[in-house]
Amino acid sequence: MPAPIIKVDAISKSFGTFKVLDGLSMQVMPGEKLALIGPSGSGKTTILRILMTLEKIDGGHIQIDGEQLYHMERNGRLLPADERHLAKMRQKIGMVFQLFNLFPHKCVMDNVTLAPMLTKGVARAAAEKRAMQLLDMVGLADKAKAMPAQLSGGQKQRVAIARALALSPKIMLFDEVTSALDPELVEEVLNVMRKLAAETDMTMLLVTHEMGFAHDFADRVLFFDRGRIVEEGKPDEIFRHPKQERTQGFLKKIIAAGHRV
């Protein structure tokens, strides 16, 4: 059995006096597609942001691909990670945000090529060639020269996915990537994600309120509540036969709110 690519060990995180994550542990296997679901404020975004090093942890350990994320091993001792170590670890991880976070002053092509050129020293021609492949994959090859402001929300999000993929991360984090979109634009983004899941062996962690999509997409579903994983299992187990009361309650509310499961 291969080693887990993500190993979260008893991490805690507070904002002020509010404990968002409380001794959270989880493991993700290479290539696994994971859906994180749960009520608002349960810490789903926070755990993704922690994995992307956008948020510090107060306690615990995280291993990515066999290496400590927030610590460095020096002479058998664990020290807090410095900026160089974090930069090295970030190469393994990419993230797509709810609000896209495209660079508004750069055209689509430059959005995608900027990071590979700067962080990996890829030559412009090679970076643009790869960007065209990725834009083609997300169905936006004809928008390479467009500015973000000229794109629809769905198109922006597809660019953001291509931009993250351009760095070839082993792990991709998706935080409610369709929840800021008009309903008719959701599907085009989900289609890209389906394609990614089918065609690559990337490890993917997805926070979503699209239960139907989570069901089809995920190998495993984690149900979060109040900073803990209350229940986890195969999509069918979680969505059809939830064992925990809180999971049942949450799913009932979601279905009542009109979401398809």
């Binding site: 992307m52 956008l54 970030r90 976070n101 002053h105 055209c107 700067l118 760095l167």
Partner: protein, 219 residues
């Protein structure tokens, strides 16, 4: 009539000096503004402290005093400047201190999500600043930079105090030589005003050029 044109020539010579001071002073102010403005948001406290001292010092003392120091005091420490250079130094450092706060404010006005995108794409701090934050912040700075440049233009007249023959100085010369007050002072009024107009117009067209295609910004 020919006499008037001779005097007008003097005034135009003064205008050239004023333009020269404004351009060179603005270049120095711009450099200082970016150094100190970026220094103010540095993660190194010593850099932040140096930037703060510079800004507070030059905003807290008057341009006259700064000019006198540049011209009369610096020679005592072995640095003798021409009147022009002393003027450029005082004006550039003074206006640069104000503009540094503009740079800092503009950097801080860029949303957290842009910084986070930089981190997620593994850009270094300086790479993100240079390629993502500053280009967007520049658009925020430009209108105020335009005001700063006009302030600088108006402040150039202080150099007449160290006998640099700028526009204001030449107007005084013409006045004392002709006894006429109206002609020289109307001319300098018009010239300052036209120069200021040129600056605003230039900055505004630069703004329009840079704003093209950007999210949520007037084009």
């Amino acid at each position: 009539m020919t006499q008037w044109s001779g005097y007008l020539g003097l005034i135009l010579q003064g205008a050239l000096v004023t333009i020269e001071l404004t351009l060179m002073g603005s270049v120095l102010a711009l450099i200082m503004a970016f150094l100190a403005g970026i220094g103010r948001v540095s993660r190194f406290s010593i850099v932040r402290a140096l930037a703060t001292i510079y800004i507070e010092f030059f905003r807290g003392t008057s341009i006259f005093v700064q000019l006198f120091w540049a011209y009369f005091v610096l020679p005592f420490v072995g640095l003798s400047l021409t009147p022009l250079l002393a003027g450029v130094l005082a004006l550039g450092l003074n206006v640069g201190a104000y503009a540094a706060e503009v740079v800092r404010g503009a950097i801080l006005s860029i949303g957290r999500e842009q910084y986070e995108a930089c981190t997620a794409l593994n850009l270094g701090r300086w790479q993100g600043m240079r390629h993502v934050i500053l280009p967007q912040a520049l658009l925020v700075m430009l209108p105020t930079f335009g005001n700063n440049a006009i302030e600088l233009l108006k402040a150039t007249s202080v150099v007449s105090l160290i006998s640099l023959a700028d526009l204001t100085f030449q107007a005084q010369v013409v006045r004392s030589q002709t006894g006429s007050t109206l002609m020289p002072f109307v001319s300098v009024l018009v010239i300052y005003f036209v120069l200021a107009l040129i600056i605003s117009w230039g900055v505004r067209s630069l703004e329009r050029r840079m704003a093209r295609g950007l999210d949520g910004v007037r084009v």
